[in-house]
Chain length 278, copies 2
């Protein structure tokens, strides 16, 4: 049955940890019980980067998010394995790249046939993507999630935002602040620490305000993407909900798709028809 | 002789590493050879924070940077030790704090008697300070140095900026970009990575551009401080030079003082007159 998950497995062995000849053994550790019928393996993301298993050179936009003929076969020694890797996308001006998101985008277009408009994929490196006639026209990346992780876990601000408390009102007003005066971000960050020290700012409110400031700053810079457009969010549930909440006061009612659904739909579209996949 | 350095010592044992009862032993390990005549010890910075040796509560601006009567005596057991700690400064609205910089500011005012204008102390947490009639009127903190360290050493951008290459032209144009469109910072960061991957951006140019983007963003938000004002920079030589270079095209010719000179002048002003200090 196509499009159903029969089994799942994951590990933390990826591009950051593996040498080139470590990818095949790592994959076999994970999926060898499934290989009786030699099903095709399709992969996307950093596995196709220059430091990955096998480089799958970026395709240049404008183009469809995936192209079966551009799949790159990874070198394998185990006869049960046939592995193909999806290339990422690049944009020359302004320079930008993605790896992995192209597969989620293809999945989103499979789930919403004929969709024209904007996709937003919030996350470590949030992507805003302009889709027209089934192609990625342009895209832009923001390091919002990575900045949040660095600032909340590794900077001086970490002292004032421990725990997982949350304060919707603090988030909302920070988004509004950042959208109206995005140039003040640098000045607003340290005040989270100072207000914790001298004005009783709670850790939950500080975390929420940091999130709101960073998402609001992203929205300010991404305005040419979303202003007056249809927007669909593809991401983890909580994060997508935060982006939807931030966009609502700007008159944008964003649709939401699950990142997992999009990834699976995208990978499925790349799987050659075989007995195992049918 | 007052104001001369007879000996120097330093260690990495500070607030981040020491429990409250660890400060005195750590100080003794460092300076016990100097204690024959029981000279006074004056201290400033995080040693006076809530997690430090002994809390020295913030003084509220507007006020002079230092006040001898507000010094806090640290509890000691060794009879040769008399340790006093300078309090930091706080500003209630917008909330901000400093610890250590107040001593450098006092030193700067000792070195430039009657100075009215702006002091900028670039660093991990850059401070902009408005001085009038010998008092700190207001100040604002930017996390520029910490952001540079996090982004260049711990984020995805680190892959494209190893080494210590430098490119003045890349720095200058990034400062100009950030000053004219500070709201675009979030969008410009990831392009450093993308241009490294697909457009041949060199590590030196990437580092310089990151520095220029962050300093330019700080200058954009700190404009109410420096526009049309006298500015004196207090900091490490290379960093002050970068700030002076960034300010020059805005019509600001910043004076420069050495951070070490200012710190020593500030601490000296706090040392009670004793045989050892005379």
């Amino acid at each position: 049955v196509s499009g159903h998950i029969f089994a799942e497995a994951s590990s933390d062995e990826g591009m950051g940890k593996l040498a080139r000849d470590g990818f095949e053994p790592a994959l076999l550790r994970l999926i060898s019980p499934w290989l009786a019928k030699s099903p095709p393996v399709v992969a996307c993301g950093m596995v196709g980067s220059r430091q990955g298993w096998c480089e799958a050179p970026y395709r240049a936009v404008p183009c469809t998010p995936l192209d079966m003929s551009a799949q790159v076969a990874a070198p394998t020694t185990d006869p049960r394995l046939r592995v193909s890797i999806a290339p990422g996308l690049k944009q020359m001006q302004p320079a930008d790249v993605m790896r992995g998101e192209e597969t989620q985008i293809a999945g989103a277009l499979a789930l919403m046939p004929g969709y024209d408009g904007i996709l937003c994929l919030p996350g470590t490196h949030s992507k805003w993507v302009h889709i027209s006639a089934g192609e990625v026209v342009s895209f832009q990346t923001f390091m919002t999630g990575e900045m949040f992780a660095l600032l909340s876990e590794s900077s001086v601000l970490r002292h004032g935002m421990q725990g997982d408390g949350w304060d919707e009102a603090a988030f909302d007003s920070a988004v509004a602040d950042a959208l109206s005066r995005p140039e003040k971000l640098g000045a607003r960050l340290f005040s989270l620490r100072a207000e914790g020290l001298i004005a009783g700012l709670t850790p939950g409110a500080a975390r929420s305000r940091l999130s709101g400031l960073l998402i609001g700053t992203e929205l300010a810079a991404a305005k040419p993407y979303w202003l007056g457009q249809s927007v669909t969010l593809i991401g983890a549930e909580k994060l997508s909900a935060a982006y939807a909440r931030a966009l609502a006061p700007q008159g944008i009612t964003a649709q939401r798709l699950s990142a997992t659904d999009c990834t699976l739909a995208g990978l499925s579209s790349l799987a050659p028809e075989t007995e195992a996949a049918r």
